[in-house]
Symmetry: C2
Subunit: 206 residues, 2 copies
């Protein structure tokens, strides 16, 4: 990680609020005026911390990345392989279920908002979400090399499916307010990993 | 279905453009001025067709529902049960893959945009997406009653997972521009249905 200059508390306070606002109303809805009003600050108290609206958006994305790394990735201490794959996905589910952000998963909301808006913000969101998907995939591949997943499974396919279940739970929780969303995601993950981990049955259809 | 008054061609033209714009930039980004400019029309030529911005948003959602019903649901002629379940999901994948809307799945984008914005638009998006999820679930339940899915499967759980795969493919295609997104969704659906359809193996872990 590159060395960072220490951040002012005010900047951090602004970014905390910006993450919550963006998770509900979108990164495009972020404005200096909106933030100043939400924080009870003057516009000039907010404006000095960011060079532009895009700088504010990118800084908000980086703050969300830091929180994701601290809450989802840092606490996972399971053994590399299947145990860590399960622990990483469970940690992510708990993070989304705990509504780390007011509007649910920050990156899911940002994905939908920016997928059709070319530029630096979209590129960074794509880079970070792809990196997380790749990390799940790499852990599945390691589990396979350790003999914990069937050799005929494609680790990237397993990662696609596990990732889908957590994003679906966030969608169902946020939009449908489905009380069973996270239980369904956990059942889906457990079922998929059981299938991937099972010894190949002989004489049965695949 | 309630009887509808015939629509003017102009109104339909406006709504076609509104669906594409909304799928890329969001329903909140829709404005009379934006639509007039996109269509090369005068603002007054657009404004008379809608009572308010919310009316424009709700009308756009209804147009997207009509297109979804026509493109995804109407053409499915498979036998009720497992065959129709597979055909419905494949028809949905083909619809999303064909980028029926400029920004990908209209309802996925609208879900993320409106899940945190209480009101009539959010309610309608939730109602329509829940109804589609319920339809997948009902078809899985019928397949189970017909003996085509294992009795120990929960049809709503199967529906959650199949629905997740298609939404994930839309996400991966739109944001990551992943060339294999739809192939992965199809493989995931096939694998999940094979597992749900298989006779319970005796003496093997579940």
């Amino acid at each position: 990680m590159p060395t960072r200059t220490p951040r002012s508390d005010t900047r951090q306070t602004i970014l905390e609020r910006a993450m919550d606002l963006a998770s509900v109303e979108g990164l495009e809805g972020l404005s200096i005026g909106r933030l100043a009003s939400a924080l009870g600050m003057s516009k000039s108290g907010v404006i000095g911390h960011f060079a532009s609206k895009q700088d504010l958006q990118l800084s908000t994305v980086e703050s969300a990345r830091e929180r994701f790394e601290a809450e989802v990735m840092a606490g996972v201490e399971a053994e590399p392989g299947l145990a860590r794959l399960e622990a990483l996905v469970e940690s992510w589910i708990a993070h989304v279920e705990g509504e780390a952000f007011a509007g649910g998963c920050f990156f899911w909301a940002a994905s939908a908002e920016f997928d059709g808006r070319p530029g630096a913000v979209r590129d960074r969101i794509a880079e970070l979400t792809r990196s997380w998907l790749d990390q799940i995939s790499a852990e599945a591949r390691l589990a396979q090399r350790l003999g914990e997943l069937r050799p005929d499974e494609d680790p990237a396919q397993v990662a696609f499916e596990l990732h889908a279940f957590v994003q679906e739970a966030n969608w169902a929780n946020q939009l449908l307010e489905a009380p069973d969303a996270f239980a369904r995601a956990r059942a889906a993950v457990a079922g998929r990993l059981a299938r991937a981990a099972r010894l190949a049955p002989i004489g049965l259809a695949p």
